[in-house]
């Protein structure tokens, strides 16, 4: 065939056989290409399904399994006899799922007509929204009233994505009486969130803010459980895979006796001050009162700004727990301790006497330090000096002791440092010493300051709990127990409450036990021997030992000393300390009033009322293991 003819298709005779063979070749090549391509695809599948299987398996599980934590139920708080002080009660709150809300602004505005929403609520809600997923249910308001729930129920159709949800809220049935001891819980705020273990608090809305609620947050909180839930792409629950129930927080039994607490508070009749009762044998705090108080229930579900400002700015400072963080000038209440120090340090013998003429002079100085009684008490020994609260005796003793030994000795009673009670926010007071003054004021110590320290004046300030502990130490012949509020813990509803073991007490600070007797006699004489609080022990079955304190609210040595209250209603801060039965005390009590006439006149009767109430229940005080009720 010639080439020209061949190149012209019209003339070409088609070679059917050759074309078929050519096609066959192409088809085979095509098939091979396809085979290779599908081979590559198969290798890609193998790469994903075998090489990276573990990774994708994990991601697949991550997709479908959602772990939701179940917050634990908070432990309850009881008094020593099982009277509930903090409970969980059923309530309803309003929750919103942002994903299901079409127009959030509009919805919130319309909701406001049905349910009261404060600016605080909205602000908190907006803040919460930023930290959560849009498919999470976010709390808008706690503790709806019945009216609000009823109103919302009838109009629910207007608010898709908004729901009323039941929950347990904290309630304090005894309210004000225990506001300072038990404290309160509040909503977890931004600061809390930073320090909390996020896993343990996932789903928990409240945390202890003050008092026992705060101190024992760890015990009360419990451990959250969790639910492994299979969810679809919209996070809708398909089925539960596994559920580990939460462990509820421990129930706490306090050392406080609710009846005694109430009687103590009532005894103040609203006057500002504080009282603490301690069992000297073990440091159990039987009553601890700070007046005025406030309703802790206000704080649980978010206190309004106005209410809070009112409480915060009130001149009588209801939010302050006076028992552990208010400063009082101890005045004459410190005289028994100083007297004991004189004997222990060998500066005085019990029989040594001092002549009180109405004024004491440091040798070589002309400034006089007065007695309470014009013309003095005459010649007195230690017992009489305590009973009559004779300043001159203690001026001279303090002067002889010198400030260094003085503050050493008083430090042994715990003045000038926190007692270690199981509450947050305890202050130290001030026990003056040379170092303290140098550090604080950069001034040398003057002997005159030692003299007035001898009657509990000057720089010296104490907290009521410090005085109560010192009083209890005196009652227990110098043995100190750490004051505490937690008596027993209960891990579950069906378990027995377990007593908290006592911290071992240090040996008595009294080296010669005979020295204690004359001091005790002096304190008994205060109440029963014609002393400053004479007649207080009338009709009481046990012998009461005590000591009054009436402190100047304005210093004699330094007129610029700032007064504690801006408006002086009465001249003195008044105090009283007591314990009974005198030779084997089972209760030590102190009472302090910010304003009063004298310790005997105003503070002592409060202490007596506390003892009277304590007496009714005295049998229970005998055995420490009694009184805890297993629920």
């Amino acid at each position: 065939m010639n080439k020209k003819l061949d190149s012209n298709p019209r003339n070409r005779i088609r070679d059917v056989q050759r074309e078929a063979t050519a096609f066959r070749t192409r088809a085979i090549v095509g098939f091979l290409i396809i085979f290779i391509c599908l081979g590559i695809l198969a290798m890609r599948f193998a790469f994903l399904q075998i090489d990276r299987h573990d990774e994708f398996s994990a991601r697949s599980d991550q997709n479908r399994i959602s772990i939701r934590s179940i917050p634990p139920t908070r432990g309850l708080i009881y008094d020593r006899n099982g009277v509930p002080l903090a409970e969980n009660t059923a309530a309803f709150r309003l929750e919103v799922v942002p994903d299901d809300v079409v127009d959030m602004k509009k919805t919130l505005a319309q909701l406001g007509d049905v349910i009261a929403l404060s600016d605080d609520d909205i602000e908190r809600f907006d803040a919460l929204r930023k930290t959560k997923h849009s498919f999470d249910s976010i709390i808008l308001r706690f503790k709806l009233s019945e009216d609000e729930i009823a109103r919302f129920s009838t109009q629910r159709w207007r608010f898709p994505g908004v729901d009323v949800v039941p929950y347990l809220t904290r309630a304090y049935p005894l309210g004000e009486e225990f506001a300072h001891v038990v404290g309160y819980v509040g909503r977890i705020d931004v600061n809390d969130a930073q320090t909390l273990d996020a896993a343990r608090y996932d789903g928990t809305t409240h945390i202890g803010k003050t008092g026992v609620e705060r101190k024992y947050e760890d015990e009360l909180h419990g451990e959250p459980g969790f639910e492994e839930v299979e969810v679809n792409v919209n996070k809708k629950e398909i089925r539960k895979i596994r559920r580990v129930p939460p462990t509820p927080g421990k129930n706490l039994y306090l050392t406080i006796d609710a009846r005694l607490q109430k009687a103590t508070e009532d005894a103040f009749e609203g006057r500002a001050g504080s009282a603490v009762a301690i069992d000297p044998r073990n440091g159990e705090v039987l009553a601890m009162v700070s007046v005025p108080s406030f309703d802790p229930n206000l704080f649980v579900n978010g206190i309004g700004r106005v209410d809070y400002a009112t409480l915060l700015n009130a001149p009588e400072k209801p939010l302050l727990n006076r028992a552990i963080s208010a400063n009082y000038t101890p005045g004459s209440t410190v005289k028994p301790y100083l007297g004991l120090g004189g004997l222990e340090l060998g500066l005085r013998k019990p029989s040594d006497t001092v002549l009180s003429v109405g004024e004491f002079f440091i040798p070589g100085q002309s400034r006089g330090y007065r007695d309470d009684k014009k013309g003095g008490h005459g010649r007195v020994d230690l017992v009489q000096a305590i009973a009559q609260s004779v300043n001159t005796y203690f001026y001279s003793l303090a002067y002889d002791m010198r400030i260094d030994r003085f503050s050493d000795w008083m430090g042994k009673f715990g003045f000038g440092r926190p007692t270690g009670i199981d509450l947050v926010g305890e202050t130290s007071g001030v026990l003056p010493s040379q170092q303290w003054k140098r550090a604080r004021m950069n001034q040398p110590w003057y002997p005159g300051e030692t003299v007035i320290a001898g009657i509990g004046q000057g720089y010296w300030v104490i907290t009521p709990i410090q005085l109560a502990v010192a009083d209890a130490m005196m009652a227990a012949r110098g043995v100190r127990h750490v004051p505490h509020l937690l008596r027993a813990e209960q891990s579950g509803i069906n378990t027995e409450a377990e007593l908290i073991p006592l911290a071992p007490a240090a040996p008595s600070i009294i080296r010669n036990s005979e020295n204690w007797e004359p001091v005790l006699q002096g304190m008994i004489a205060v109440v029963n021997g014609g002393g400053t609080a004479n007649g207080l022990g009338k009709d009481f079955p046990y012998v009461i030992a005590g000591k009054t304190g009436t402190a100047e609210r304005f210093s004699r040595t330094d007129e610029s000393w700032t007064n504690i209250m801006s408006v002086a209603v009465e001249r003195h801060q008044v105090l009283f300390e007591a314990f009974t039965p005198a030779d084997d005390a089972r209760i030590a009590v102190i009472a302090a009033l910010e304003a009063g006439h004298t310790g005997a006149h105003d503070a002592a009767p409060i202490a007596r009322k506390v003892l009277d109430e304590w007496l009714k229940d005295d049998d229970d005080k005998g055995a420490p293991e009694k009184g805890v009720v297993a629920k």
Partner: protein, 372 residues
């Protein structure tokens, strides 16, 4: 009367068995594939009987169409080819002018049913190319190539602007395969490929924004895991978590819990991979390879050039479905809406695929006498 019909049916059956016009291998493979497809769809749709029945009905419709087409000799089809091609072009233009559909204009409402002309083109275009080439000298030269290119480009462009890149790609591929099978010289193929690579940036220019996004996501799906990358990531998770043996039928969590989007349609291959594992995948790929191979064998034994090219290009286009869909769900290729043949839910592609196999059956039934 009824006896007469029965007698006719019987004689038809006897004839069919004695001289089968349906290739039993291809038919068997297709039935097996349809069963696998319906089973997978039943699981993917979370046991939606209604949906699966609908799909089965479409298979039935496609099967009847396949039988009808198979009964017509390829020579007749060849004679009608230009007219069919022109008709499908007219329909495509009609779609462009008055079509309807979600997001993309692909549908023509015929009153009684909606119809997607692009599916028709999947068949008429390779027919047209085969028709055009069979009358010309083979292997084709440049002029022929250019003319064929125009034949391919016009409908492909019309479909691509609907926009339906996947179908346009399939349609164009079937035409290109015809040229390849016609014996286009290797050096010409090389030149065309090089020119194509050079023009790639131009293609980027003409792409829709959503198509560009798909391409970007293909390159780095994790850059937008909840948005554009979601499909690819979830699909890879579904495939990868399947492992060797899969999670078992109806136990694929990715699809059952709806993490995998489009799990009834474009991403049903991922459901299959998740539930049957690599073993299942290898079996399914082998089945697809068998169908393609059998199609090419039928092509090789065909009577004339037209039949050969048509059968060959239909078979190879079938592979493109599998490759593009499989590549998409494994992240090997960008996301292009191409169904997995006879498995993905959706009527029109199943019907047009079976119609194409009808054409193969017809070619098989009228194959070379020598090879009978």
């Amino acid at each position: 009367m009824s006896a007469q019909i029965a007698w006719r049916l019987r004689s038809w059956l006897v004839r069919s068995i004695r001289e089968p016009f349906l290739d039993p291998y291809l038919l068997g493979a297709l039935v097996l594939l349809a069963v696998i497809g319906l089973t997978t769809l039943y699981s993917a749709s979370d046991l939606d009987r209604h949906l699966v029945l609908g799909q089965a009905l479409r298979f039935l419709l496609g099967g009847v169409l396949m039988l009808l087409i198979a009964r017509v000799p390829p020579q007749l089809w060849r004679n009608w080819t230009p007219w069919l091609y022109l008709a499908s072009l007219v329909l495509l233009i009609a779609v462009a002018l008055l079509g309807q559909g979600r997001g993309a204009n692909r549908w023509l409402n015929l009153g009684v049913m909606r119809f997607q002309p692009s599916e028709l083109v999947k068949l008429t275009l390779p027919m047209m190319v085969a028709w055009f080439l069979h009358a010309r000298e083979l292997p084709p030269r440049w002029l022929t190539l250019v003319m064929v290119a125009v034949l391919i480009a016009v409908p492909a462009w019309l479909i691509a602007r609907q926009p339906d890149l996947g179908t346009a790609l399939l349609v164009a591929a079937s035409g290109v395969f015809a040229i390849f099978l016609a014996g286009l010289a290797w050096w010409r193929i090389g030149l065309v490929l090089a020119a194509g690579a050079g023009a790639a940036p131009l293609a980027w220019h003409f792409m829709h924004e959503y198509q560009r996004n798909r391409l970007r996501m293909f390159l780095d799906p994790e850059s937008d895991p909840l948005g554009n990358g979601w499909h690819i990531i979830q699909s890879e998770i579904a495939v990868g978590s399947g492992g060797w043996f899969g999670k078992g039928w109806h136990h694929g969590t990715q699809s059952q819990l709806e993490f995998l989007p489009e799990h009834n349609t474009d991403f049903i291959f991922a459901v299959f991979s998740e539930e049957w594992g690599l073993i299942g995948i290898l079996c399914l790929l082998a089945l697809y390879l068998f169908i393609v191979g059998r199609g090419l064998m039928i092509a090789a034994n065909a009577r004339d050039v037209y039949s050969r090219l048509l059968a060959g290009s239909i078979s190879m286009a079938f592979f493109v479905y599998v490759m593009v869909n499989g590549g998409m769900i494994t992240g090997l290729l960008p996301v292009v809406g191409v169904p997995l043949p006879l498995v993905s839910y959706g009527g029109t592609s199943a019907v047009s695929l079976l119609a194409g196999f009808g054409m193969l059956m017809s070619i098989h039934a009228h194959r070379k006498l020598s090879s009978r």
